[in-house]
């Protein structure tokens, strides 16, 4: 080897891809002398191979593929890496192509459509994002290099690396643009493999008739309030963080500890209204007072010697039952301090927190706390605002969605409804009610297409297991850490495996997860199971899920039994894991014993009457009736008075300045014009029988005429009334009136109002005390509204408002602000320190002025009392007739205070409006729609499933004693006139079991809860004892 001979080239013309290939110049050879030659060989595809596969197209020398799926022209053949049209690339590209190809092959073999998994990039921040724009530009730190002159003489690393400062500076330049860096640690650690990184956003085109926006809220970022030191002081937490800390599935597994040192805090403070009721937020977030109550109480559970302090302005417990909850917090030793601290300081040594605050007498105090929780407010959801922008719907000045007062779900665009806190901060029951209400609005709009998109599930035929020995499968749930952190689930599963009849027993992280349900189906097939026991949570929420899994596996759904080892075990015996495990074994053993005796049961279809009965023709009843009528259902609307409208007829103007008379008139006309709606005035419900779907009632008018009516559902909307308490000289002096009296007087331009020189309001006159310990919810807004009105009519007239707690929650806060701006004087009083009204002579009111610490007496021309609201006339009788309970506060009781706010516990009976709890007109309308929505969900069915868990009479044993006939809450049992024995109709029996336990000759059996099944559980329980 002496030299290498080369030919000179020139660049050719660009080809179709714009590449210029070298072209040799003929005869232009030259030589380079050398001793060694190293070839840098290129790579090319072995063309013969691809050509041999028919249908695989080529592009130049390369295999032609679809860029995103790597599919070639021949189905089932994929190409990537160096063979792809891009030609030879790096190893990274080749590996990526390999994975991409594998995904496509997977889809191809499963017969699914080939889709690119990589065509949608991961979400990442763009340079034009608002967040990124905030970052100031900063140049890269230059990398120090070994000086060139020295490098020639040694092998020292050229790039010397960053110093610590340089490295930190460089790292701080990170824009954190990628939401996730795909390290996959989360996917690896998640036991049920619930994290799927390959999922990408996809766009769907849907044709819909209505849109419901339920975008929720954003929690206020307390970091914006620098004075509270959030993010700077480790022991200052936001309420959401604290909520997680209190949770058994939270980061500390329910242990309350200071982030700074992990110690249990003994002094904890809560600061209310962080991001509410301030200069930037002229509204109240409505929910923080009660969640702080709850968190403070839970704190005393977690740290028994702790009595937390709550710094607040007003206790806004306007929801149903909330004041009793507040009272419980007080009884538990939670201190409520009326003050708004201006700042939190940290003791740098101990990391304790110091709060300076001023009491109501103006005295300054300083308290030291181990931990402070900021009760953050609710802000309009930013994502919701973006959606609102795309949908073109209006927002109000706070950024919440703007809704009409008398059409409280309807956005500014027809067909777009808004529910939940996106229109105003609100609590769970109000949000749930709005959800049902939106369903009602949509059902009325889309009544024509009802049922056109529903699909019936198809199940395999049921296996007959009657001749088989019991073969039980047991599945023990970890419920994440809810059960497994206390109960030794492996031990429980092993114990179950040894029980008679058990064929297989396993434990899984979440038995209700899809993969576990699949496991149940597989085990049923593998072991020929004919009974299934799940040891997990409560059947109230989860039984239907598992029952349908059995059904999918060809088993009758009644061959299923649940052991509640969470609510009744791990949650209550957290501190005694050994005993909890022993109890779980007992519970599972009992369930297996019962499961062995379970028998298949079948349900029957019962037809239903597609009509509704609405009791009460106020705004609630009218709205509910109108909504159901619009959906095309027949409605019977019964009103005691001679006119529709109820209490709203007396209201002149709402706090938002709207006249409800107009909406009432329109609504009434709509009801009259709708042929589906029958109105009964001067009438009441005289008789009521039957069961969900098939009620029969009698409506009686004032002349005693009785009209029988069959209906499938009933809505109770009988409202509330003012209780004229014997306080503050009410009904003893002419100058003392109630809020409803004032409404009437304002409407009639009564000179006692128009000419009154000074006016006082006493809110909570009889509420939050004595017989009425609850809040009537609407009186504060009535008082503020009328205080504004009287002040505006005559700005020089002094207007005073005495209050216990000012509950202008949600967006009503701005009216409270306005009243104060107008010069209305607000004075707080407590139960033990009521204002006194003179009983004779000129009308005066005297009270204790806290700031001055002395008694003050003021002359008044008119005194308006906000007296308590109580259940309407006739509510006790109606409650007895319908067999639905009233609560102690005389309002109807719902099935679940948070999650089923308009359902009664008895199926097919619904409540709305003030019969449920006092509420404003817009809240009443929302709730009335909700009741209509819930009722319509039943009425939309063609048949009701009945039977299964029902009682059956053994007529040979029956003594025809009538006990069952008399005790049944649903009036189902009858004495058959032919055989003269009791008979229970399975279609109507509700399966409550009352007759079974009362029957003196034990002639009645409740299927699925037979004596044998219950006794088997007991015997199993005591098996290990005896």
């Amino acid at each position: 080897m002496t030299a290498i001979r080369l030919q000179r080239c020139k660049l050719g013309e660009p080809d179709e891809r714009g590449r210029r290939r070298p072209e040799p110049i003929p005869g232009a050879f030259f030589e380079i002398p050398c001793e060694t030659v190293i070839f840098a060989v290129g790579q090319a595809i072995v063309g013969d191979f691809a050509q041999g596969l028919a249908g695989v197209g080529l592009e130049g020398d390369q295999v032609k593929t679809d860029d995103s799926t790597l599919a070639t022209g021949r189905p089932g053949v994929f190409a990537g890496g160096d063979a792809s049209p891009k030609g030879p690339l790096t190893a990274i590209e080749a590996i990526a192509a390999g994975r991409k190809g594998a995904a496509s092959v997977h889809n191809y073999l499963r017969g699914e459509q080939l889709v690119s998994l990589w065509s949608n990039p991961l979400p990442e921040a763009r340079p034009d994002d608002a967040e990124v724009k905030k970052v100031t530009r900063q140049e890269r730190s230059p990398m120090p290099e070994h000086p060139g002159a020295e490098r020639r003489r040694n092998w020292v690393e050229v790039r010397e690396g960053y110093t610590e400062e340089q490295a930190i500076a460089e790292a701080k330049r990170c824009l954190q643009c990628a939401v996730c860096s795909e390290c996959m640690e989360c996917a690896r650690i998640c036991p049920p493999k619930a994290l799927i990184h390959e999922e990408r956003d996809s766009e769907l085109d849907l044709e819909v008739g209505a849109v419901v926006l339920a975008t929720g809220y954003d929690a206020y970022d307390p970091g914006s309030k620098g004075e509270y030191g959030y993010r700077r002081y480790p022991n200052v937490l936001s309420a959401l963080e604290y909520e997680r800390m209190l949770s058994a599935s939270g980061p500390t597994i329910g242990e309350v500890k200071r982030p700074s040192d992990g110690a249990h805090p003994h002094n904890v403070a809560f600061i209310q209204c962080v991001g509410s009721r301030d200069q930037k937020h002229d509204y109240c977030s409505s929910v923080c007072c009660i969640y702080a109550n709850k968190q403070a109480m839970l704190t005393t559970d977690h740290v028994p010697d702790c009595s937390p302090d709550v710094f607040l302005m007003d206790m806004r417990a306007q929801g149903k039952g909330f004041d009793l909850f507040y009272q419980r917090a007080v009884d538990r030793g939670v201190n409520f301090i009326r003050s708004r601290p201006s700042a939190i300081k940290e003791d740098p040594l101990t990391k304790d927190l110091l709060i300076n605050w001023e009491d109501e007498q103006g005295v300054l105090h300083q308290n030291r706390y181990d931990m402070v929780v900021l009760s953050v407010g609710l802000e309009p959801a930013r994502k919701g605002q973006e959606a609102a922008g795309r949908l073109g719907i209006a927002l109000n000045r706070h950024g919440f969605c703007d809704l009409k007062e008398f059409d409280p779900l309807q956005s500014s665009r027809e067909g777009v409804f808004v529910i939940g806190p996106f229109s105003e901060p609100k609590d769970i029951p109000d949000s749930v009610a709005q959800g049902s209400a939106a369903a009602a609005r949509v059902m009325a709009q889309l009544a024509d297409s009802r049922g056109t998109l529903t699909a019936e599930p198809v199940y395999p035929p049921e296996r007959d297991v009657s001749d088989e020995e019991p073969r039980v499968g047991v599945f023990v749930c970890h419920c994440g850490s809810n059960i497994a952190s206390v109960v030794d689930v492996k031990d429980v599963a092993e114990h179950a495996a040894k029980l008679p009849g058990v064929q297989c027993s396993t434990d899984t992280t979440y038995v209700c997860a899809n993969d576990s349900l699949q496991l149940i189906r597989e085990k049923i097939a593998e072991h020929d199971l004919n009974r299934v026991v799940v040891a997990s949570c409560t059947p109230r929420t989860h039984e239907p899920i598992f029952q349908s899994t059995l059904r999918e596996a060809g088993l009758n759904p009644f061959l299923f039994e649940m052991a509640n080892i969470r609510d009744q075990d791990s949650w209550v015996h957290k501190k005694e894991p050994d005993k909890a495990t022993a109890k779980a074994r007992d519970l599972v053993r009992m369930s297996v014993a019962r499961a062995r005796l379970l028998a298949p049961l079948s349900k029957i279809d019962v037809p239903l009457t597609h009509s509704a009965l609405v009791i009460g023709g106020g705004i609630a009843g009218m709205t509910a009736a109108g909504s159901l009528g619009d959906m095309g259902y027949e409605v019977h609307l019964v009103e005691r008075a001679s006119q529709l409208g109820g209490r709203v007829l007396q209201v002149g103007r709402t706090i938002r300045g709207n006249d409800p008379a107009r909406i009432l008139a329109t609504l009434e006309q709509r009801l009259i014009d709708n042929p589906n709606i029958h109105i009964y005035l001067d009438s009441h419900l005289a008789d009521f029988h039957g069961f969900v779907g098939n009620f029969s009632s009698v409506i009686e008018d004032k002349d005693g005429r009785r009209t029988p009516v069959d209906h499938g559902v009933i809505i109770v909307a009988i409202g509330a009334r003012e209780e004229r308490v014997d306080l503050y000289q009410l009904d003893r002096r002419p100058g003392v009136v109630t809020e409803m009296d004032l409404e009437r007087m304002l409407k009639e331009h009564d000179p006692r109002v128009t000419e009154a020189g000074s006016v006082g309001f006493v809110l909570c006159a009889g509420s939050l005390e004595g017989d009425h310990p609850y809040c009537s919810r609407v009186c504060c807004q009535h008082g503020v509204k009328n205080a504004i009105e009287l002040k505006e009519r005559n700005p020089s007239r002094p207007v005073y408002v005495w209050f216990k707690e000012m509950r202008t929650f949600g967006l009503l806060e701005e009216y409270y602000t306005r009243a104060r701006d107008l010069g209305v004087v607000f004075i707080r009083y407590a139960n033990g320190n009521r204002p006194q009204v003179s009983s004779e002579g000129p009308l005066t009111i005297s009270y204790h002025e806290t700031a001055l610490n002395r008694d003050v007496s003021l002359p008044l021309d008119l005194l308006v009392l906000a007296v308590p609201s109580v259940g309407a006339e006739g509510s006790v009788d109606l409650s007895k007739l319908l067999k639905v309970p009233l609560q102690r506060d005389s309002f109807f009781q719902e099935a679940h205070v948070k999650l089923r706010p308009v359902d009664c516990a008895s199926e097919g009976i619904f409540i709305c409006g003030a019969a449920h709890y006092p509420k404003s007109i817009d809240e009443t309308i929302s709730q009335a729609y909700a009741a209509a929505g819930r009722a319509a969900a039943l009425l939309a069915k063609q048949v009701i499933k009945a039977g299964g868990v029902v009682a059956e009479v053994d007529q040979d044993r029956c003594a025809a004693c009538l006990t069952c006939v008399r005790v049944c809450p649903y009036s189902v049992p009858v004495i058959d006139s032919e055989v003269k024995k009791a008979r229970i109709e399975p279609a109507t029996c509700q399966g409550c079991g009352v007759c079974v336990s009362e029957c003196p000759v034990k002639a009645i059996t409740l299927h699925h809860y037979t004596d044998a099944q219950i006794l088997a559980k007991e015997e199993a329980l005591f098996m290990e004892v005896s």
Partner: protein, 227 residues
């Protein structure tokens, strides 16, 4: 119907004594209907006896059964197997049933588990009122369907006594509750029917010998007897 009330548990325990094998026998007719002695109550009493024996360390076997009517020989045949096994039978039937049981199983110790108290009716569920004294000579046709024999505290036959005040009797129930004056009820109902004159009819002294005062009674229905 015949009504009865269960005896206090301690009383029953005293009657059972040291017996090793106990049978609680219910009756599924009158005493079942008045929720005192049907199969359910028999089972409950049997459990109570078992628990008591267990708690006090005695080995007592307690069984339960019930007859369709304890006052019929044929129905007693159906439970005779269980009776044969027992040392003592606690009968929850009315006094009639207890006696038929004692007569049928003459060698067995049969003890009452209930106190039979009256012939009455349920005013409402689980509340019974006495309605008939089985006096042997019914006067309801003259008294507007209200029995003065058992509903008047003094069984007066000629109008109320001086102790009737605003429709109530001067006597109260042992629980201190008011009792309606039977003669007041009779008067009101006669008035409503326009038969006030019946109030002023003099009734001769009642023949109490037709009732229990006349010694044990016997009734024969001749035409129903076998020929």
């Amino acid at each position: 119907m015949i009504t009865a009330e269960r005896k206090p548990f301690d009383k029953i325990l005293g009657l059972v004594g040291e017996s090793k094998k106990v049978l609680v026998a219910g009756c599924d007719t009158c005493v079942a209907v008045c929720l005192t002695g049907g199969e359910k109550e028999a089972e409950i009493l049997a459990s109570e006896l078992r628990i008591e024996a267990g708690m006090n360390g005695r080995e007592t076997e307690v069984e339960h059964t019930s007859a369709i009517r304890q006052c019929e020989w044929e129905y007693l045949d159906l439970i005779s197997d269980k009776v044969d096994q027992a040392d003592v039978v606690v009968s929850l039937a009315c006094g009639i049933g207890i006696q038929s049981m004692a007569e049928k199983f003459a060698t067995k110790l049969v003890v009452p588990g209930v106190d039979t108290n009256m012939l009455g009716m349920p005013l409402e569920h689980a509340v019974w009122l006495e309605r008939c004294g089985a006096c042997g000579e019914c006067v309801l046709g003259e008294t507007a369907g209200v029995c003065p024999v058992v509903r008047c505290s003094k069984s007066l036959m000629n109008g109320p006594c001086g102790g009737s005040h605003e429709g109530k009797c001067e006597v109260k129930t042992p629980e201190g509750e008011e009792i309606d004056c039977a003669w007041h009820l009779i008067w009101e109902r006669l008035k409503a029917q326009g038969r006030e004159d019946l109030m002023f009819v003099d009734r001769p002294p009642k023949n109490w010998s037709k009732g229990s005062s006349g010694g044990p009674r016997k009734m024969v229905r001749v035409e129903a007897r076998p020929v």
